[in-house]
């Protein structure tokens, strides 16, 4: 009995040995442990939809990197958490990623506010962080060395609108905004840009977050009768303002919104009233950046039916930048990767990438589109434009 049992055990060992011999040669490429990249995103809470888009960008980037043989001969793997759209949770999770999970590198969270809070953590551990979804200038003006911006700053969101208006000889501009971090920064930047281009700012006013009745503020805009009207918005307010402009017969020669105007739902809700509206966007799938077409195709294949927005492309591009920097540094040392990111001057699927000494993005360009026959036609800047702007916007009564 005993010997039979021992024999059985021995047989098992031999079997295991054979199995491992058979299996081992199949994975020679990634012999070492994978490179772990840590991130926390807003997968639930108020930023959930956008955070999830960014998540898909990270996932696709990992997949593509591994298909090309990984990084430094190792597989890439994400360690991902959900910060519930709360900065305090984000801070705790990045601390966990760096000190407990001991990840090799990190990627940024969603939103400027959470990035601003988290930036102190990675700075402390000297771990570079590419932050694809932070666009508030202040974050990059505090003397930090390890944080890098990917997209254009809030201040230049309406640059296209102002530039086009100036070229067409328009003289006055009115701006309204939701009173939160991001839209406020847009307004400040727009005022500066307008002054530089010789436009007169005739009206500026904010409204609280969640506002639905814009009749008072729009009546004031109508009284100021500006040539150009810009609204620094999110989504719901952009829809409501456009609708109420028609009701109150506010007729600027150009009217543009910032965030929200680019969503297909904007046109679905407003229908023909969305025609002629200008919108600002960081990225559109049809922009002729290198790799953008392939990115869009594989995104649609990988996540069929899922939302594709600039958040996905930004996440993908940010992760590509990190991967490229690790490859160039030939090391996982934070200081070395940091130096490589700071030196990079390249174009990703998301557009240009180059940062100044504070990590502030100076190469990426915003684009301006106009809704024409239910389609977003890119009208600014000229070198990326896919069509001509329909100018001026006709009166509501003549549409």
């Amino acid at each position: 009995m005993k010997t039979a049992k021992q024999l059985g055990t021995a047989n098992q060992w031999i079997l295991l040995l054979c199995l491992s011999l058979v299996l081992f040669p199949w994975q020679p490429v990634f012999a070492q442990a994978p490179i772990k990249i840590g991130a926390s995103l807003s997968l639930t809470g108020s930023y959930a939809a956008l955070g999830q888009n960014q998540h898909r960008g990270y996932q696709l980037c990992t997949k593509h990197a591994n298909e090309k043989g990984g990084v430094l001969g190792r597989k890439v793997e994400f360690v991902l958490y959900d910060d519930q759209s709360l900065p305090a949770t984000g801070v705790r999770l990045y601390e966990r990623l760096i000190t407990q999970d001991k990840v090799d590198a990190i990627m940024g969270p969603y939103s400027s506010a959470i990035t601003e809070a988290v930036a102190n953590v990675n700075e402390r551990y000297k771990m570079p962080m590419v932050a694809p979804m932070a666009s508030t200038t202040a974050i990059f003006r505090k003397g930090r060395k390890f944080i890098f911006m990917v997209q254009s700053a809030a201040e230049v969101y309406l640059e296209g609108l102002i530039d086009m208006a100036a070229k067409r000889g328009l003289k006055s501009v009115a701006i309204i905004n939701e009173d939160t971090l991001f839209p406020k920064a847009t307004v400040q930047g727009t005022i500066d840009l307008a002054k530089k281009k010789g436009l007169q700012v005739v009206f500026v006013e904010g409204y609280p977050k969640g506002n639905t009745d814009f009749s008072a503020i729009l009546t004031k805009v109508r009284a100021a009768s500006p040539d150009v009207f810009g609204a620094a918005t999110y989504f719901d307010d952009a829809v409501a303002i456009t609708r109420q402009m028609k009701e109150l017969n506010v007729n600027p020669k150009m009217y543009g919104v910032t965030v929200g105007g680019d969503l297909p739902k904007f046109y679905e809700l407003l229908g023909k009233n969305a025609e002629f509206v200008y919108g600002a966007t960081q990225w559109e799938p049809e922009l002729p950046y290198p790799g953008a077409k392939e990115f869009t195709e594989s995104y649609k294949k990988e996540f069929s039916g899922a939302d594709l927005s600039y958040h996905s492309a930004g996440g993908y591009a940010g992760c590509q930048i990190l991967v490229e920097a690790i490859k160039r540094a030939r090391s996982l040392d934070g200081e070395k990767i940091r130096a490589e990111i700071a030196k990079l001057d390249t174009t990703t699927v998301y557009g240009g990438f180059k940062v100044d000494e504070g990590g502030f993005q100076i190469s990426h360009k915003m684009v301006m589109f106009q809704w024409q026959n239910g389609k977003k036609v890119i009208v600014w800047p000229d070198e990326l434009a896919g069509g001509k702007a329909r100018f001026p916007t006709p009166q509501w009564s003549q549409r």
């Binding site: 900065p87 801070v91 601390e95 966990r96 000190t99 506010a113 609280p208 977050k209």
Partner: protein, 314 residues
């Protein structure tokens, strides 16, 4: 016989408590940055749940806007640190005082009324505070938020938050075992009867309210320093009030150890779950809350007390 064994259990409990506190005191020497950050936030939750317990658990006047004191404290401290160069410790204390002043303004009229008015007023207070903070841009930065100079002080803030949690729990113990506490609980059980017995209900409710506002004010100040950046949405979220309430209910409201138990239990549970279930953790969390409320409405401690006939002052 029973007396001796009871005091023996008490002694064991007390010894356990002292050992626990010593372990917590030396913890930062061995911990990772994450460990410190986790415990620091846990302490804050203990203090917040305990502070809600002081007014709502004891008097039965439910505060739906306790985070208003947290946010007020955070802004008061952040302004003192950022524009007046104060050290964070006195600045956080001033945050507590600012919260007490706010509590006096809102509590003096509202706590004279009986019934649900207080709950509704508190719900509104939080919204009003958030809008006010956005409005006074010169002072608070408005929607741009307030950014504090970079400072790495998580270990010091760990101790400060720990002290806040201990202070809140000691205050709860002192109040629950005192005549003052008895008066508060009488108000909860039957306010008219309390008045008939000569308890000045409006005054005692206000006292309890002021004490319960001071703690979140201080914790708010510590939070502002720890995060380094605050904005109106991040320090006045309704979710924080709800979490405080759930923690206190989960552990057992109106008891000393209930909020502590609830905060530790829920916070640890959340941390364990959301690392593993990215998209599902909130459903799991909600399911647990529903389960607890349905099966043990008096909380964990309430259930234990009932079953083993333990003292109320636990």
């Amino acid at each position: 016989m029973t007396f001796v064994s009871l005091s023996r259990t008490k002694k064991t409990l007390l010894a356990g408590l002292v050992i626990g506190l010593i372990l917590l005191a030396i913890y930062p020497m061995a911990a990772t940055g994450y460990g410190i950050r986790f415990m620091l936030q846990l302490f804050m939750w203990v203090a917040l749940a305990q502070s809600w317990n002081l007014i709502s658990g004891l008097t039965g006047y439910v505060s739906f806007g306790h985070v208003a004191f947290f946010g007020t404290g955070a802004y008061a401290a952040a302004i003192l640190i950022a524009t007046h160069g104060w050290h964070w410790a006195p600045a956080s204390s001033m945050g507590g005082i600012a919260a007490v002043v706010l509590a006096l303004i809102i509590g003096y009229p509202c706590l004279r009324l009986k019934g649900p008015y207080f709950a509704i007023a508190m719900l509104g207070l939080n919204e009003v505070m958030r809008v006010l903070v956005s409005y006074f841009e010169g002072l608070t930065g408005g929607g741009l938020g307030l950014s504090l100079p970079t400072l790495y002080a998580s270990v010091q803030i760990y101790y400060a938050a720990g002290l806040a949690a201990i202070a809140a729990s000691v205050a709860a113990h002192l109040i629950i075992t005192s005549r003052f506490g008895l008066r508060l609980m009488t108000i909860r059980e039957d306010e008219v009867a309390a008045e008939a017995m000569g308890v000045n209900t409006a005054r005692y409710k206000l006292y309890a309210f002021l004490i319960s506002a001071f703690i979140p004010g201080v914790v708010g100040g510590l939070h502002a320093r720890d995060q380094g950046y605050i904005e109106p949405i991040s320090v006045f979220p309704l979710l924080t009030t709800i979490t405080m309430i759930v923690m206190a209910l989960f552990g057992g409201k109106g008891t000393v150890w209930g909020p502590v138990l609830g905060a530790v239990g829920l916070f640890c549970f959340q941390e364990l779950v959301w690392a593993r279930f990215l998209y599902l953790h909130q459903i799991l969390f909600g399911a647990i809350i529903v389960f607890v409320v349905l099966l043990m409405p008096r909380g964990i401690l309430g259930l234990v007390q009932q079953r083993y006939h333990l003292s109320r002052s636990l």
